[in-house]
Each structure stands twice: as structure tokens, then as C-alpha cells.
Amino acid sequence: MNKSPSLAANFVNKLNTFYFSIMEELIAKILEAVEVGKVDQKSPFPPQMRGMEGAFELTTRAIEAGVPPQAILDRSLIPAMEIVGRKFSENKIFVPQMLMSAKAMGAAMVQLKPFFASGAVKTKGTFIIGTVKGDLHDIGKNLVSMMVEGGGWTIVDLGVDVPAERFIEALTQHPGAVVGLSALLTTTMVSMGEIVSRIREYSSDTRILIGGAPVNADFCRRIGADHYSPDPQGAVNYLNRLIA
């Protein structure tokens, strides 16, 4: 602030401060809405916020008020999901609460979409994830993809029973993406090795992250994947280290 401001300057200043505080307040409110999982005004969840504005309305207002979309992403959505992720790893909330937060984040993202398209907002990168061929277990994979999305990554979820070709196809569409493989059966984890080699053939420097109950760090080394994480939080941490 100026030391001896003119009247006009003072006014502008005050206005600035005022706008600034409105913007700050909106950023804080969006963060809160995502953290508690308040999607939009009509959403009944969480019960104590019934009737109040949700992430959807708050984000609309913020953009109208001129809050930079990148700030909404970086200072509301990602930090909120970080808090949610931490609470979840510390077993302080259950999955549905995390899911509601992810939905709230999604509602906000709808508003930010145009700015991604225009290049005004950047995500951290793209994460392609799928459960490997022959395997239909997807609960774990879904959790990981949700948390990684919450961490500010764009997600391409290929679903279950995914062969090597589909991963490579996705990579052609999203060059430079990181790949995540999930397997829950001891008989399908072996296809991970094949998929890793096939991906490496296609692009040797693609980072590949693996997970799922029967998998471990040793197996990861053996098949030449880049990282194993036992849980979603570890996946987010690894991805963030990649771009740090």
C-alpha cells in the first residue's frame, strides 16, 4: 500500500482491496464447498449446508467477478482435494464424502472447461488409467483415478479388461501422458509385464505406474514399470514429483 496516497489513489486502492477481498472470499468458499462436497445449491449433501450455494454457483460467480480461472484451479480446487485426500488417507472421511468432493470439483470444472480449451488454464498433465486385460476389478482403479483427478490431472479412464493396444491408442491421442495399470488377479498381473513392454516399444520414455492388491514394488521392478503405489495418495504424490 502507498504510504501517502492521493484521494483517488486511495479510492482505487480501497476498491482494489474490496474486490480483492471478494475474490479471496470466493476462492475460500469454493475451496470449502469442494472440501465438504457441496455440489450445487439443490444438492441435499452435506445436510448442514442444505439450500446454500455449492461449488457450481460459487464458481460461476467467481468467474463473473473476474477471478482468474487458473487461480480457481490452483487455489480452490486442487488444495481442497488435497485436504480431502489427506483426510481420506488418515481415515477421517469415507469414500462417499470423497466422491461428493470429487463431484463438487467436477461441477466447478464444467465452468472452467472453456478456459482449458483456450489454453488459459493448464492441468498438470494427463493420466491414462485402466484395469488390465482379463480383469474386471475396478473399484480400486476408480478410487485412484478420482484422487488423481482431484490432484489436478486430466483423466482418461479406459475402464476394465483393457489390452495393450488400447493403452497405446490412448497414448497416441495424449502424447506424454502417464499411464496407470491396475490388476487384482494373480493371473492378470502377469499381463502387466506384457503391457509395459508393448508401451515401451511404442514410446520408451512413457512413465508407467502400477497398483492393485497382488502387485508390489518388487514385481514392479521385475516387469520394468516405473513406480508402484499401494494407494491413491501414493499415486498422486508420485505424479506430483514427476512434474516438480
Binding site: F94, L136, I139, T187, V190
Partner: protein, 458 residues
């Protein structure tokens, strides 16, 4: 439900090793006839199944069965059920599954003739239909290999037929993650019940055609998924306990269609099925820690007729192969129960009491497996004129029991769990008696691209 009255009304009659309608097998086991037997389940170590490895696959199965039965003989086992829960390829290409059964059955026969050890194979094909999404529960081509495996697998030596069928799972998976109890009830009491009726009619017919035993199903993909998620603290344990209770109305349909037990090991709804229908049941607990951790390690065997390890890979431990080690662990657990049965009512009642009190107040999922509560909830499950009403009434009774245990101070529930109790009650109470009305109510809330009503006869 077709059942209107419990077969076992008195909790003290809900006892391990004793079922009102025991099942006799060709090699002379009488399941539920006064003795508990081990049910061993195992699977391959990390490996691929294809043309070049198939001999090695056969080798694993024969080596494991030999090793396990050797140990069973050494420990004077009264008899063993070997569960053959197929891996995907073994149902998709039934000839693989059939060959495995044939080879295992030869070994079983050999041990029966040489050592007098009675052993039977439970044949559990995969429910392949879940490979198609949305699932074609009635019209899928994938039903063919499943039925082929059942049919030829019986001829090859499979004596007990089971499956973990998946009707309704496409809805339940998401409902579990959202702790949406209405969604779960829709998945189990509407879709699950209808699919069970469709599937088990076929299985029972097949079994009868060869004089084999249509054993039973398991809501593993629903209720055990909930349990595993709750053990990971992903969803509330009180929710998982209700899912278990709701799963009863779905699994009981196998019996309504003519299945006679023992139901499948991973179905913790077993005690309810036993109370309602009188069939013998298979259960798993602490000795299945190789396959999943659980909050019901001891209480699970309070009224078991078979005692199972769920599944362990054929890998080497310090003592030898893991399935052999688990065979031994099961046999010792089973011996304890059989000694108690031999010693008389005082002994067996006290052992059961200890098994129950060990776990009952540590987790709502244990609470709903205590014989007293099983009977009380089963009674509630029989009230109402539709499966939907049955399930809702059972779940509400379970909720009462959970709340009572909490308010009386017997069971401590953390705040995080407690907040769910009123939400779950509200949700349950909003469910109408009538299936049609319930379907109407649910459809708008569900992602209809994920399931096809007509595939459930709706």
C-alpha cells in the same frame, strides 16, 4: 420370499456342525450331520494360463491336491471339500476346467480308496456375464461356456455346484462406493433376486439331471466387497453390516429354486440361510486371513458346517506349500469344533459362546452374525410381501440391533460411524413395500446406461 417361517427358531439350535437338513455326498460326507469338515480353496501363483502353460497349470492343481490330502490323512481328517473356484480361462475354455476336475477327482478317488479319506470337489465356475457391460444377464452367449462347465464338470467329478453370480452388480458397485443403501437394496432385492431365480433354476436342473448337489451361491461380490472396503476404512462398517443382511434375500433364492447347501464359503449370509432354510453352510474366518482380513475371525465359525480358507496361492512358505499349511490350520480349527460336538451340549455351547463373545461387540458386521441376532433379524427378513420389503425390514431390524448395542454401551462406535445411522434409517424407511413402486422410485436416481431392465425380466 417363499419361506414364511424359520426352520431354526431357537438361537441355541444354530450350531456348528449341525444342520436340520444335512447333505450327504457320494463318498460319504454328511455335511451338517454332526461334524464340521474343512473346505480348502487354492489358486495359482502369479502366472499366465495359455497353451504353453496349461500343463504347468494342471501340475499345480494335482500337486496341491496331493499335498493337501497327504496332510489331511496325516492329521486323521474326517473329510475335506476341495473347492475348485475357476480362474477365468477355465470357464471361458471349459475344456481346461474339466480337465482339472478330472485330474483332481482321480486323486480324490485314490485317497478315498487307499486311505479312506472322503473328499468331494465343489465346482464354482466364473460368472462370465460381467464381462459385458451393460450386462446381458439372460441373453448373453457367455452363458454357454458356464453351463458347459457345470455340465461336463459334474461328469468329470464335480459333486457340488456353486457360483458367485453377479446379477445386480453393475448397480451395486457404485452404490457401495456412495454408501447408497437404496441402490444396494435395488441391486440385491430386485435385480439380484431376479437373476438368481433365472440362473439357479438352470443350475438345479443340471444338477438333478446327473444326481449331483446344487449347493449354493454367495453374495461375495456385494457384501464381501463392502466388508473389504469397510476394513480399509473406505465405507462405514454399519453400512457394510446392512449390506450383509440385505444380501440374504438374494442368496436364499438359490434354495427357493432347489439348492440344498452347503452354500459357498465366502457368503457370510450363511447363518441366515441356515436359520431360514435349514441347509448346512460353509463359512470362513480367521483361517481365511490369507485371502482377506476380516472383523469376524472367530464368530464366523459359530454355526459353520464347512470351514474354509477362501483362497491361497500355491506358493512356498517356510514349512512347505501354502495350501498344505492352510489345510493343517483348517483341520486343527475343525478338530476343536468336532471335539466339542463329541463332548456334548455343554462343551459345544461354551465353545460357541466363546467364538461369539470373541468378536460380537468389536464390529457391527460381527454383531449381525451372533446367533441371537441372526434369528431376530431372520424373523424380520420374513416379514413383508416382497423381497424388497423383506430386505428393508431385515435391514431396519439390524439397524435397531446395532443402535441398541451402541446405546447400551456394549459396542463402541466412533463418531464417523454414528453419523451414518440416521441417514441409513431415513433411506431405508423411504423404501416402499412394493417392488414395482420401488423400481419406479429408483430409476431416476440410477445411471440407466449401466443396466438393462429387460435382462432381469422387468
Amino acid at each position: 420370499m417363499l419361506y414364511k417361517k424359520l426352520i431354526i427358531e431357537d438361537p441355541s439350535a444354530l450350531m456348528f456342525g449341525l444342520a436340520p437338513k444335512p447333505v450327504s455326498t457320494p463318498r460319504g460326507l454328511v455335511i451338517g450331520g454332526g461334524k464340521v469338515y474343512s473346505e480348502l480353496n487354492f489358486t495359482l501363483p502369479e502366472m499366465r494360463i495359455n497353451q504353453t502353460t496349461v500343463q504347468e497349470v494342471y501340475g499345480h492343481y494335482t500337486e496341491t491336491v496331493k499335498g493337501a490330502l497327504d496332510r489331511a490323512v496325516h492329521l486323521n481328517s474326517a473329510g475335506v471339500i476341495i473347492e475348485f473356484e475357476t480362474l477365468l480361462e477355465m470357464t471361458r475354455y471349459p475344456e481346461i476346467g474339466i480337465e482339472i476336475i478330472k485330474r483332481m477327482n482321480e486323486i480324490c478317488e485314490d485317497y478315498f480308496v487307499k486311505h479312506g479319506l472322503p473328499t468331494e470337489i465343489r465346482l464354482t465356475p466364473n460368472d462370465l456375464r460381467e464381462f459385458e457391460r451393460p450386462a446381458l444377464q439372460r441373453t448373453s452367449k457367455l452363458l454357454d461356456p458356464m453351463m458347459e462347465l457345470f455340465e461336463k464338470g459334474m461328469t468329470a467329478g464335480g459333486d457340488l455346484l456353486s457360483i458367485e453370480s453377479t446379477g445386480g452388480k453393475e448397480v451395486s458397485d457404485e452404490a457401495l462406493m456412495m454408501c447408497d443403501i437404496k441402490g444396494v437394496l435395488f441391486a440385491l432385492a430386485v435385480l439380484g433376486v431376479r437373476d438368481m431365480r433365472f440362473l439357479w433354476r438352470k443350475i438345479v436342473d443340471l444338477a438333478r439331471s446327473q444326481g449331483k448337489i446344487a449347493a449354493g451361491d454367495s453374495a461375495c461380490g456385494f457384501a464381501n466387497t463392502a466388508m473389504v472396503l469397510a476394513e480399509k476404512k473406505y465405507i462405514p462398517r454399519v453400512f457394510a453390516a446392512l449390506v450383509r443382511v440385505i444380501s440374504v434375500v438374494r442368496s436364499v433364492v438359490a434354495m427357493e429354486e432347489g439348492a440344498v447347501g452347503p452354500d459357498k464359503d465366502c457368503g457370510y449370509e450363511g447363518p441366515y440361510l441356515k436359520a431360514i432354510t435349514g441347509i448346512p453352510i460353509s463359512m470362513e474366518g480367521k483361517t481365511a486371513a490369507c485371502a482377506h482380513l476380516s472383523p469376524i475371525g472367530n464368530i464366523a465359525c459359530a454355526c459353520a458346517d464347512l470351514w474354509s480358507n477362501e483362497s491361497v496361492q500355491n506358493i512356498k512358505l517356510l514349512s512347505g506349500m501354502a495350501p498344505v499349511a492352510y489345510m493343517e490350520q483348517l483341520e486343527y480349527d475343525v478338530r476343536l469344533m468336532n471335539e466339542a460336538l463329541k463332548a456334548g451340549t455343554l462343551h459345544r455351547d461354551i465353545l460357541q459362546q466363546l467364538l461369539v463373545s470373541s468378536d460380537i461387540y468389536t464390529d457391527p458386521q460381527a454383531l449381525v452374525l451372533a446367533p441371537d441376532n441372526v434369528i431376530a433379524i431372520s424373523k424380520a427378513l420374513l416379514t413383508g410381501d416382497s423381497y424388497v420389503a423383506n430386505a428393508r425390514n431385515g435391514a431396519l431390524k439390524a439397524l435397531d440391533i446395532i443402535e441398541e448395542a451402541h446405546t447400551s454401551g456394549k459396542m463402541v462406535l466412533p463418531e464417523m460411524e454414528l453419523t451414518w445411522l440416521p441417514l441409513l434409517r431415513d433411506d431405508l424407511q423411504s423404501i416402499p413395500d412394493d417392488e414395482e413402486r420401488f423400481v419406479e422410485m429408483m430409476l431416476p436416481m440410477l445411471d440407466q446406461s449401466k443396466f438393462i431392465l429387460s435382462e432381469y425380466g422387468l
